[in-house]
Symmetry: C2
Subunit: 358 residues, 2 copies
DNA sequence: CTGAAAGCGCTAACAA
DNA sequence: TTGTTAGCGCTTTCAG
């Protein structure tokens, strides 16, 4: 015989309305309420009307938590971003959000703040079943306690970055780099500088190696180029500029390729303040195509990434994988160069005239 | 007599490890596993060790969903932002995230994309019990189906915006505006322009009214100032510049106050390209203190908002309210003017010399 | 210190 | 078409 025990409820009932109250008010079972919401065709018009009325009267909203527990999915996607303050990512996030919203998913943003320690939190989130899928904008797979995020049995895709072993949505860094170098080489530049992304970053590697390859193809030795270590952010553009300015004027590169617009903009401003003229003395090219590139002086030649599209597409392949139960598939987007004011032919130099005259 | 029914499980068991499997492996009850995690002191060392071992062996991570259902809280905060692509908000988000992470909360970002239709989604989220608290960076309270987000019995606070009836964390727009005008008036400007935020926006109203008040106090008629409608974003700065350029050179304002750095930067670039010199012909002041203000030409005089701090503080008052069960309390942060290159005394003009001579 | 069992809100399988 | 009921994973009484 079952013993009657008084209800053991959790803390603070918070007074929110449950499906039971709606069912009671409508004079039907909870199952009917549930069905009226999910599969209205299978509920009689009268019952449906009563339920609708009861819902309106009570202001009922189904509990997402209860639903998630039962359905074993949360309809939430985690987006891991290296640094949320970077406007480059912001636009991608918008694209992701647009697509996700349209597909009935919400998103949690996992901001790493460029700190590895922050990864643990999101690894737990994924293993804890808090999200249905993951989109990575970071250059590596978050890991903690010996577990990598992609091993949780949840689909993962990378956006804008190529992580070995993971499906991706991105523009091809190699092709993009080649476009940039084709432009600079076509302008007849021979002395180059390269402001890099953080070491080990997959985009950085792709861009740099294509940069070097272009140099070789043009009969130049990649080793002669100047390399300045950066991290995609503004400050490292300033640092690169200081190193540039420390060079003898005659030995400075005449063309500088920055692996991000942020670095390019900070670089331009810093050398410009020191009296170097752009593009007369030095040409500068950026990468990403952030909006501010059109509002600095001179306006920045850059390789725009279709960020919104990249985000949308990333979300789309993930959602598709979620629906089908398969793995997301990789997509590569086209890119082209946006030529503005910051690039021009190199200065003639002390010997420039001679060569011509000869 | 109870009839044996076979287990009715949901779709795809997904094979994730539950507390039961850990309990079985450790040879204890699920209650003990739960306690070993939450209140280890109340578990015997042996049991604790066995549980720890079992957890390690299985790779168990507690289900956040199961926990939420039981605990009736999700440890998640919703942050509603008008437009996630705006770098101004990004930095605030970072501050919020920092504080939330430290307090054991996660965050969901609700991107409105400046569209009212998007509000419904987040209103449902809150009423559906998906979040424990809300932080609003938007100028109004999201509402849908006749329900306002702050009526869900969940604490809500506003960051950087003043919404009547809601606790807030922000810098005082009136005082900030006064600081700007003091600077411009001190430089002896007499003809002013104002590039506004979106109509009805609370910050916009605060800034504009203080702008007008400062004018009156200086013996000028606010009605003589030029007002250009903007929306805080880059494009509206360009539009304002076009209107400025359409004015007779002699009737143009000599000082322009833009209610956001974005508009100020776009305004400067546009009139600069048209041959207007800044600050010699026109002084420009922005609002917010975004990083790019230091990298445009000329560098922008602005009123920096302590965005990271604003975010942290917003999260802090919310978390405190969550803990105490009370309402969040309002905080006002100090601000000061950052004077850079874009402001200077007005040009003498055709009659400037005369006055002096007289 | 530990285990049994109830139940958070919801949905799906089954029976009627 | 509808109701009954089990159970998703977890925590927490209550009893031992």
């Amino acid at each position: 015989v079952a013993r009657i025990t008084r209800t053991r409820r959790g803390p603070d009932a918070k007074g929110s309305i449950t499906i039971r109250e709606v069912a009671a008010k409508a004079g039907v079972s909870t199952a009917t309420v549930s069905r009226a919401l999910a599969i209205p065709d299978q509920v009689s018009p009268e019952a449906r009307a009563r339920v609708t009325a009861a819902i309106k009267a009570t202001g009922y909203t189904p509990s997402a938590v209860g639903r998630s527990l039962r359905a074993r999915n949360t309809k939430i996607v985690l987006v891991v971003v290296p640094n949320i303050a970077n406007p480059f990512f912001a636009e991608i996030l918008r694209g992701i959000d647009d697509e996700l919203a349209a597909s009935g998913y919400g998103l949690i943003i996992g901001n790493l703040d460029n700190l590895v320690e922050r990864e643990a939190r999101y690894v737990d989130l994924v293993f804890g079943g808090q999200v249905d899928g993951v989109l990575l904008l970071s250059g590596r797979i978050p890991a903690a306690n010996g577990r990598r995020m992609n091993e949780a049995g949840v689909p993962v895709a990378a956006v804008c970055v190529n992580i070995p072993g993971l499906p991706y949505v991105m523009v091809n860094d190699g092709k993009a780099s080649a476009l940039i170098m084709e432009h600079l080489l076509g302008l007849r530049h021979r002395r180059f500088g390269y402001i890099s992304g953080p070491p080990g970053n997959a985009n950085e590697i792709g861009r740099r190696s294509a940069f070097r390859k272009a140099l070789s193809s043009a009969g130049l030795d990649p080793i002669d180029a100047a390399y300045w270590q950066g991290d995609f952010m503004l400050d490292s553009g300033v640092a690169a500029a200081r190193q540039f300015l420390a060079l003898d004027a005659g030995r400075r590169p005449t063309a500088v390729y920055a692996a991000s617009d942020h670095m390019a903009i900070a670089f331009m401003k810093t050398i410009g303040s020191a009296g170097v003229r752009i593009p007369e003395d030095v040409s500068v090219v950026g990468f990403d195509g952030i909006e501010f590139g059109a509002f600095v002086t001179p306006t920045l030649t850059t390789l725009p990434q279709p960020r919104h599209e990249l985000g949308r597409m990333g979300a789309r392949v993930l959602v598709e994988a979620l629906r089908s139960g398969g793995a997301p598939e990789s997509v590569e987007l086209d890119a082209w160069l946006l030529v503005r004011e910051s690039t021009a032919p190199p200065p003639r130099g002390p010997h420039g005239g001679k060569r011509r005259a000869g």
